[in-house]
Symmetry: C2
Amino acid sequence: MKLLHTADWHLGRVLHHHSLLADQAHVLNQIMDYAVAHQVDAVLVAGDIYDRSMPLADAVRLLNQTINRFAELAIPLIMISGNHDSAERLGFAATQLHKTGLHILTDIQHVAEPVWLRKADTALQIFGIPFADPERVRHVFNQSVTDYDAAHNLLLDQVKAARDPHFPALLMSHCFVDGADTSESEKTLSVGGSDRVSYEPMLAFDYVALGHLHSPQSKGASHIRYAGSPLKYSFSEHLHKKGVTLLSFNSAGLVAQAHLPLQPLREMRVLEGTLNVLLAQGQQDPQRDDYIMVRLTDTTALLDPMGRLREVYPNVLHLEKRLLQTEPLAQANPNHIKLDAAQLVRDFYAQIQGEPLTDAQSDIINATLTKLLQPNQDNSL
Amino acid sequence: MKLLHTADWHLGRVLHHHSLLADQAHVLNQIMDYAVAHQVDAVLVAGDIYDRSMPLADAVRLLNQTINRFAELAIPLIMISGNHDSAERLGFAATQLHKTGLHILTDIQHVAEPVWLRKADTALQIFGIPFADPERVRHVFNQSVTDYDAAHNLLLDQVKAARDPHFPALLMSHCFVDGADTSESEKTLSVGGSDRVSYEPMLAFDYVALGHLHSPQSKGASHIRYAGSPLKYSFSEHLHKKGVTLLSFNSAGLVAQAHLPLQPLREMRVLEGTLNVLLAQGQQDPQRDDYIMVRLTDTTALLDPMGRLREVYPNVLHLEKRLLQTEPLAQANPNHIKLDAAQLVRDFYAQIQGEPLTDAQSDIINATLTKLLQPNQDNSL
């Protein structure tokens, strides 16, 4: 029996005002191709299906197309809700859909009800723990739980009590396992309190299909694993190796797991250098359509660097400037401001006119700036 | 074969800041009771399932409970999307749900695909035309349609071409049939242009189950019918007789239709009179929990009439005052304003102190108001 484990699709994600829907459709197609090529018996999606609790219509359409494709392929899809999803909205009609091979597990009151997969002599029970914060668990079960670990353990105890010991068991959970690597695009679950859960209580499952963290990684043991997101969802993820995890089971349990890489429609890269070097290099860059974050190392002021970069790299999404980053204006002393302002005018003039200020012009600029920047004076001009 | 026709549930509707969810659950229970009592073979919901395109989680939960109840009863539910619904969101997983007896028809590209109901020697084909504006129809079919009537006729032509002439046919449509009675809680579909569609092209169906207008009514012929909303959704509907329509078919077509009344959790009433009369009358009113709109006929100013009314009628949701209504301040002349202001102070004083202003106090008030209201003067006090 074979399964694909994926997570954190974040359908409808927008990166620096740029919709990633086409990129998402691209990698979802690859996941379907893998599912067909490896003849998997189910695909597991461990939460954060959508990027927001009220997904836009386009994101709903993409998920709808995806579930329809899996239905045509007769491949069951098992998903849990993550912290980005609305459990109520994602879980609509789940009871009916369950009969059709689309298993949407969003209700923590039903964590003890597994989805069973059977093939030849192998039977596998799959439990899903959707994301739930301690307040929700406390409210639903009327138990005193104060942190994520206690909440997760309470749900885990229900799963363990329901588990049939004669057959292997797989657990899906959307949570933050202690000590795992993070990236910028995962929402913090808890501000102040601890949002971490421990891996030890999950060791006894044959496999734990985790969602929440975007970098593929195992935690505590190789079979407790984040598949990671199928795409890079922030520039902090630009070095991640995105993919899905292929699992093989026999009647005794897990026999193999492997990372299958996904190829994005556009790569994500961080480029660093001066504007002129990057502009020159971009002319030769065969991957100029990639999503680019630029860190400019110029120490002089620049006119419309984003516009000029986009003429070469059309998908520059974000720009960091070392000058402004390392010497914020508000902390500089007045003389320093004057210096910067004079430099700014000189650079601006040179870029617009194609030649530098004359000495006479520079003198006028300096005198004006000195007058303007005198502290505690009436600066009316 | 029996069917129930209902429409315009508007789940999640809020009336003057008051959620109607409990009221909606109450009438949905009655619809289910009718469905069981009359052993109907399907329930038709002709659009505006939700009140908004992004329904709140509570509204999604109520619809989910409702579809689960109908699934347990093994009664198919056939719904189309209305102008309040998001076709994409409501239509999620429709392909899968179709197999489970929940038919959600939201895609105008599939209007030619009927739901078939069969029982003994009767077979009925049910077509659904979800709400679609002319722009959408023009875009999807690449046809020149400029108004709602043309758009509806284009979709109707597809239905007619697909209709099997050997069996009766029922059409569901969410649209505004020309000349029908309106109420305040139906959104205007088109500002300026015509939002009406003609009934004549629908005459040849055995029954037309309409949605959009909230008052139950037939249009053009008795079998072209709005079932109306199950609840009063604005005070302009306070005289409506809400209900659902029960239909009986045999193999030749429609044989009977009947209006079945629904009892709201709370009635909706409009009360008119002076504050004191209404407060006194409310003490004896056995229906004091009704949703109330009050039209006050007092000609003097009143202190906190809403607060005082709510002590007697806890669900007063809206208040109209004849004084302010018939003599808006902005149109009065300055002398009139002064008169009103003096009256206002007198009434206020009397209500707070329990006795009228003395003549000396009145003189001071009048002098002050005269000074304050002198035009083009510096009114600093």
